[in-house]
């Protein structure tokens, strides 16, 4: 596996000059061949090389059981084309559409080269308080939705403004009666140009932008970014800082898993769990606040460590809170999963097959629910996880019930792990924060990923000689997993859409960048 690819590890510094280069056709062929042999597509993205005006395509694969990553590149002139990878590897669909949208590199033979984010600059339109008098921008106007033929088919359009406090996306259901035959999701409403902004931003602003790509995974994004910067600068953070980051990340996972289960219970009108988990989620948000000052975990993890050490009173407060939470969460979990009326609604609903999960490259709890046991903490460990083991939880059928069960078990594991980490927290008088600047000392290319609560959060940093950013590529787990939502709903009753949606709980902002 990973034949012809340069082998490296998660968050290992590389030099761009060392990266193997092949022709674009060979890049596609070798990528497809390795994926057929069992590798997984991790990233496929482009970079405009300012010096030559060419576009470099990166293909990054993972050999998850071998704990290795592989990289291969190809240079293309702008506006040129290459044979599409998607026709052989469906997982490359969104990535190839992205490269086409960003750099105009056309993948020949792509099954359906649709817009991905419809980037529209405000300067291209008259702006100001015109209240709809300005011609509408092109988003959605001419989007080629897949249409099902036949008199029995009716379409239901929802969004981008949804009936709740939730991000914007446009969903089009093609239904026959109550049954969804096809769902297509159009995204891009939240496109803020995050990557472009990061590439040009002042150093102080960069970490804040990174955390704001998907603010519900602030710790995950900031940790991945910090790892990349530290790796390129050749700096190691102290064990205490690494453990604090790991605690913050597991805490973030529990906050959102608990919140998701509460929302899932709400969707089947099981209100006790919704109410209790809504409150318990606050315990974990307040933990983030006690650790870093912000309930969403922002401004805590930075290159060089964490910005605030745990003081003894806070340490004791956290320990007490987690011990209490363990009992309370467990009782609520038992009540929810002991209720047949809840389980029947989840069981066999919105299933994703294992074959589809592998073919489309799903990640995180969505992949694990179908029996694909990938988890960055075990497969490509960094920081704290290099010294500890995480037991990956997998499901069988990829149904809503499986995804709920995965969350339940991950909550239990994370709680136990946090208590263990707190008790064994390296207690030496070490500095937990030594600011690190962006610099290409040990390398100028680094791919860094962590297992956020939605799955692998990847931040790839490519630097110029002077330490400025040449390309910043951020990839949220949702980038892969939106296709899971589309597939899971086929054959599902439309009334079960909410539970399917909540069980995936994907990021609009992380996808739209």
């Amino acid at each position: 596996m990973l034949q012809d690819f340069l082998i490296f590890k998660n968050a290992e510094p590389l030099w761009q000059n060392d990266l193997p280069k092949v022709s674009s056709a060979a890049l596609v062929e070798k990528t497809a061949r390795n994926i057929a042999a069992g590798a997984r597509l991790v990233q496929w993205f482009g970079q405009l090389l300012a010096s030559t005006g060419t576009v470099r395509l990166y293909s990054i694969l993972a050999d998850d059981t071998g704990h290795r990553l592989g990289i291969l590149t190809a240079d293309l002139t702008e506006g040129s084309s290459y044979p599409s990878l998607t026709s052989m590897v469906p997982a490359a669909d969104r990535a190839e559409r992205e490269v086409f949208e960003q750099f105009g590199i056309r993948p020949d033979g792509h099954p359906w080269l649709k817009p991905l984010r419809h980037p529209v600059k405000k300067a291209e339109l008259k702006t100001g308080r015109t209240l709809g008098l300005v011609p509408e921008n092109n988003i959605g106007r001419h989007y080629p939705f897949w249409k099902l033929a036949g008199d029995a088919v009716h379409e239901v359009g929802v969004g981008p403004v949804h009936a709740g406090i939730i991000g914007p996306g446009y969903f089009r259901f093609s239904c026959v009666g109550e049954q969804i035959e096809h769902l297509e999701i159009m995204l891009g409403f939240e496109h803020r140009g995050a990557e472009e902004l990061i590439e040009k931003a002042a150093p102080a602003r960069i970490p804040i932008l990174v955390e704001s790509i998907a603010g519900d995974t602030s710790i995950g994004y900031a940790t991945a970014f910090a790892q990349a910067v530290e790796s390129l600068a050749g700096v190691e953070v102290t064990g205490r800082a690494e453990t604090l980051r790991a605690i913050a990340l597991e805490n973030e996972r529990m906050a959102y898993h608990v919140g998701d289960l509460g929302a899932l219970a709400g969707d089947v009108a099981y209100w006790p769990t919704t109410a209790y988990f809504g409150r318990l989620r606050g315990e974990f948000l307040n933990t983030a606040m006690d650790m870093g000052g912000n309930r969403q975990g922002r401004y805590y993890v930075r290159p060089g460590g964490v910005k605030r050490d745990l003081t003894t009173p806070v340490y004791e407060r956290l320990l007490k809170r987690f011990i209490n939470a363990r009992t309370e969460v467990q009782e609520c979990l038992d009540q929810m999963f002991g209720s047949l009326s809840v389980l029947t609604r989840y069981d066999q609903s919105a299933c994703i097959s294992r074959e589809n999960a592998v073919a489309f490259g799903f990640v995180g709890p969505v992949a694990r629910s179908c029996g694909v046991g990938i988890d960055v903490r075990t497969d490509h460990p960094t920081g704290y996880w290099q010294l500890d083991r995480h037991s990956v939880v997998v499901g069988k059928e990829g149904s809503v019930l499986d995804r709920a069960m995965i969350r339940k078990q991950e909550i239990e594991l994370s709680l136990a792990k946090i208590l263990q980490m707190l008790e064994s927290l390296p207690n030496h008088e070490t500095n937990v924060f030594m600011p690190v600047k962006l610099a290409a000392i040990r390398g100028d290319f680094c791919l860094s990923m962590v297992e956020g609560w939605r799955g692998q959060v990847i931040q790839t940093l490519v630097l110029n000689q002077d330490g400025s950013i040449a390309r910043y590529k951020s990839q949220d787990p949702s980038f892969q997993n939106w296709n899971a939502m589309q597939l899971a709903n086929r054959g599902n009753a439309i009334s079960d859409f909410p539970v399917c949606n909540k069980s995936c709980n994907l990021a609009y902002n992380g996808h739209d960048l």
Partner: protein, 276 residues
């Protein structure tokens, strides 16, 4: 059934007694910045360069724009004189964009709605939220404001599913161009009079995404705004405090020390007339 009853007893009553009783957040919370009095050394503007969102300015005095601030505490570490600190006070909303610029330990002023508006909204307010490019933080904290701890509905305020049922529009995010039309249509679908609230630094000034070529630097470049709630994201209590003061429902004893500002010259507030 027995397990339900037992759980109900174990869980108990969890709703905060605020605002009936006073509430202070733990000192670990990064709330409203406070600038201490006294002159800066000549030519020093380290706080300005340390701020990632250009919120801090040094003119004659140090000033901090809560609308741009992301509460990261970089200016606290950046000021060699220790003039800036982050208090744990969650109360920081303001009625006008200008009022969000603070110079000391005073919070901005939230002007109570006029009597006519209070008659309509004072005891029952229906809220519609639109995420326009937010990172998820503001959305999650607004969701949390309706949970059993903060329980927005005990004040007669509810989040509703349709703009047709809504009196107030809470907007989060820096308003990407791709979301502008949907936001405008939501606003136009609301019956008049209507109120617009910018929640979070993105919705006020673009926040971390200020001057993005794809975004509009906040709601007030698209819609008239009646209330600004700073925070990144705002704590649910920041939202509750702001809405209660807007509706004149917060006892004076729970008010922060506010900076009185002249009402004249403030064009941003529509007081619900809905005229852009």
């Amino acid at each position: 059934m027995i397990s339900w009853i037992r759980q109900r007893a174990v869980q108990g009553y969890r709703t905060l007694s605020y605002p009936e009783e006073n509430l202070e957040l733990p000192g670990t919370f990064y709330g409203r910045p406070v600038i201490s009095a006294g002159a800066c050394p000549d030519g020093c503007c380290d706080c300005v360069s340390s701020c990632p969102t250009n919120a801090v300015k040094v003119d004659v005095n140090v000033s901090l724009d809560l609308g741009r601030c992301v509460f990261c505490s970089d200016c606290v570490a950046g000021c060699p004189e220790g003039k800036i600190s982050l208090s744990s006070d969650f109360r920081m909303a303001g009625s006008s964009r200008e009022s969000l610029v603070i110079y000391g330990d005073e919070a901005p002023m939230v002007r109570q709605l006029n009597d006519k508006m209070l008659k309509i909204f004072g005891r029952s307010l229906r809220i519609r939220q639109v995420s326009a490019g937010d990172c998820g933080g503001c959305k999650d904290e607004l969701n949390a404001a309706s949970n059993i701890v903060f329980d927005l509905s005990r004040f007669g305020m509810n989040v509703v599913a349709s703009p047709r049922h809504a009196d107030m529009l809470l907007v989060t995010g820096p308003i990407p161009e791709n979301m502008r039309v949907a936001l405008e249509k939501t606003y136009l679908a609301m019956p008049q009079p209507r109120l617009v609230v910018a929640v979070g630094s993105c919705a006020i000034s673009g926040g971390p995404f200020f001057d993005s070529p794809y975004c509009h630097n906040g709601v007030d470049s698209v819609l008239p705004v009646d209330l600004y709630i700073p925070g990144c994201p705002p704590h649910p209590l920041t939202v509750i405090d702001a809405l209660l003061r807007l509706l004149g429902r917060l006892p004076k004893s729970r008010w922060p020390k506010v900076l009185e500002q002249p009402a004249a010259g403030d064009k941003t507030q529509s007081q619900g007339t809905g005229k852009p």
